[in-house]
């Protein structure tokens, strides 16, 4: 199993479904230490991403034969165009970086290691733009352990399903681990010590994003009967 257009699309749709399901919780977390819009921001963004996927004539739609890279790049661009706030550019740039890191059509699609490089490019994009370090109570604090867990699994010989499941677990642990942190970036930083004791909304949505990746991969694997584990 490798990262084809169908898997990329399944992933994006799974994120959209998760955001639709969880937007109230995200907004609630953001109300506690931000400005109470993280859920609606992502919801607006992924709704637009779905519209683009479903209407191939729209200017936001990915090129039909652009492969998974183009689909994710386009997803990133749509997020940048529609979300606003801090999370829009961050996730937007991340998806664009992921997309750019995947092989173009015509070349063999990415395997587990290739996806790992793409996810690393996503994290680099977030850090370049937002200049947050681990421990600043941001998206970085979920993405970093997700990537670490993913790489560890791949190094131990895991395929996409296991590696993405490991990443989701890492992201979820990372999100939980933001609770005791004092925010140093984003709006929550204005609260200083008052930000302690709350889970970071962006780290939480990053966990949704990795869980969606694991789900999409697992569903795909199940459909294929788990035939070609490496």
């Amino acid at each position: 199993m490798d990262v084809d257009t169908r898997l990329a699309e399944d992933w994006v749709r799974a994120i959209a479904a998760a955001v639709e399901r969880e937007h109230e919780r995200l907004t609630e977390l953001d109300s506690a230490i931000g400005d109470g819009d993280h859920g609606s921001n992502l919801r607006r963004g992924f709704a637009a991403v779905l519209v683009a996927l479903d209407s191939p004539d729209s200017p936001d739609a990915p090129a039909p034969d652009g492969g998974p890279g183009a689909l994710l790049t386009r997803t990133g661009s749509t997020l940048i165009s529609k979300v606003g706030g801090a999370s829009g550019p961050l996730y937007g740039k991340a998806f664009r970086a992921i997309g750019a890191a995947l092989p173009p059509p015509g070349q063999p699609s990415a395997d587990a290691a290739g996806l790992g490089e793409a996810l690393a490019a996503g994290l680099r994009a977030v850090r370049d733009l937002g200049r947050a370090a681990p421990g600043d109570k941001t998206i970085v604090d979920a993405w970093t352990p997700a990537l670490d867990a993913y790489r560890e699994a791949v190094a131990a010989g895991a395929g996409l399903p296991e590696a993405t499941a490991a990443a989701a677990g890492g992201a979820e642990r990372g999100a939980l681990d933001t609770v005791p942190l004092e925010a140093r970036k984003g709006r929550a930083s204005y609260l200083g010590p008052r930000s302690v004791g709350h889970q970071d909304p962006g780290a939480t949505s990053t966990a949704l994003l990795f869980r969606a990746l694991a789900e999409a991969t697992a569903a795909r694997e199940a459909a294929r009967g788990g035939s070609d584990n490496p």
Partner: protein, 331 residues
């Protein structure tokens, strides 16, 4: 939540429709969410573009017009606009003389304007960014998001806008904007929390005798919670907090903005202004010019902010220059 809205999801569109209907002197591009002047400046001039989350009205759309902004990009409530808006705005108003982005220092605004500046540069536009970061309630360091941009935005937009109107080149306009920002400090106190329409309930809860000291303009709580005290004491605290950070000495002149956060009546703002002026006089600081009213609001939040901008002759002259926008006019 009690608001004069149709639907929390459509407040921005609906408000823009109202702005369009009320102000023939503005051109409102509802699809792109860009507000520009209906009549373009005659010759080439540096264009000022600002923007930010909605809910701070009249900022920024109310400051579009001769002598101030060329375009404003309103985002969703308390959410930075997206780069597409800023790019569309910049392209709409660039006359070849370049564009200055006036950006309040919030992570989202900074990043979205940064992407917009990249895109604009790709399209061959010359762009400079003036970052406004005047709020002394926030600790400023490279390890934090830095000071927030609040009331000083009005002064930056007015004064840099006046210079742009006179035909000054791009770098001078941007440098002046930075100078105004550097000369400005703000601090705010809230009596109630703001309610974001989509959230449906206040961002924080205050008891009947509590105030929130050092709030921002996005409904976020402030530095600390205190008991409500007389306006005189609150004004003193705000003045002293700013002076502790700002190098102002006896004999200095300031432009003072006592700004309502949205839910506070003008009568109370005048009471605060009277106390602020008296307190400053006690320090030997002269209020050379002032503004009292709702300029940078936070939806329905009750409370006020004070902005003090150290002023000199040239700054005052530009402050006094004609301006003709919905929210600030001067002949």
């Amino acid at each position: 939540m009690k608001k004069l809205i149709n639907d929390p999801e459509t407040v921005l569109e609906d408000a823009l429709a109202g702005v369009a209907a009320a102000h023939p002197e503005l051109a409102v591009d509802v699809a792109n969410r860009v507000i520009t002047r209906a009549v373009r400046p005659a010759g080439p001039k540096v264009a000022l573009v600002s923007g930010g989350g909605s809910g701070h009205e009249p900022l920024h759309g109310g400051f579009v017009g001769p002598g101030m902004l060329d375009a404003a990009c309103p985002g969703e409530v308390f959410t930075s606009p997206v780069p597409d808006q800023m790019l569309a705005a910049a392209k709409a108003v660039d006359s070849g003389a370049g564009v200055v982005f006036v950006v309040k220092n919030y992570t989202g605004d900074v990043m979205n304007f940064e992407l917009a500046a990249e895109l604009a540069a790709e399209e061959g536009l010359e762009v400079r960014t003036v970052l406004v970061n005047d709020d002394v309630a926030v600790e400023d360091s490279t390890w934090t998001a830095g000071r927030r941009g609040t009331g000083a935005t009005v002064l930056v937009e007015k004064i840099a806008g006046a210079l742009a109107e006179r035909g000054a080149p791009l770098d001078e306009v941007a440098a002046l904007g930075e100078r105004v920002n550097a000369a400005s400090r703000s601090f705010a106190i809230a009596l109630t929390a703001a309610t974001v329409p989509a959230a449906g309930k206040p961002g924080f809860e205050l008891a009947a005798d509590e105030i929130e000291v050092g709030v921002g303009i996005h409904g976020e709580p402030g530095r600390r919670r205190e008991r409500l005290r007389p306006a005189r004491e609150l004004a003193a605290e705000v003045v002293e907090t700013i002076l502790a950070d700002h190098r102002l000495t006896a004999g200095d002149e300031v432009i003072a903005l006592v700004n309502g956060l949205g839910g506070t009546p003008l009568m109370e703002l005048y009471i605060v202004f009277g106390e602020v002026a008296a307190r400053l006089a006690g320090h030997g600081i002269t209020v050379a010019r002032s503004l009292v009213g709702n300029y940078v609001t936070s939806l329905d939040m009750a409370g006020f902010s004070l902005t003090l901008t150290k002023a000199d002759g040239p700054l005052l002259e530009l402050w006094d220059a004609p301006v003709d926008t919905p929210a600030l006019k001067r002949a």
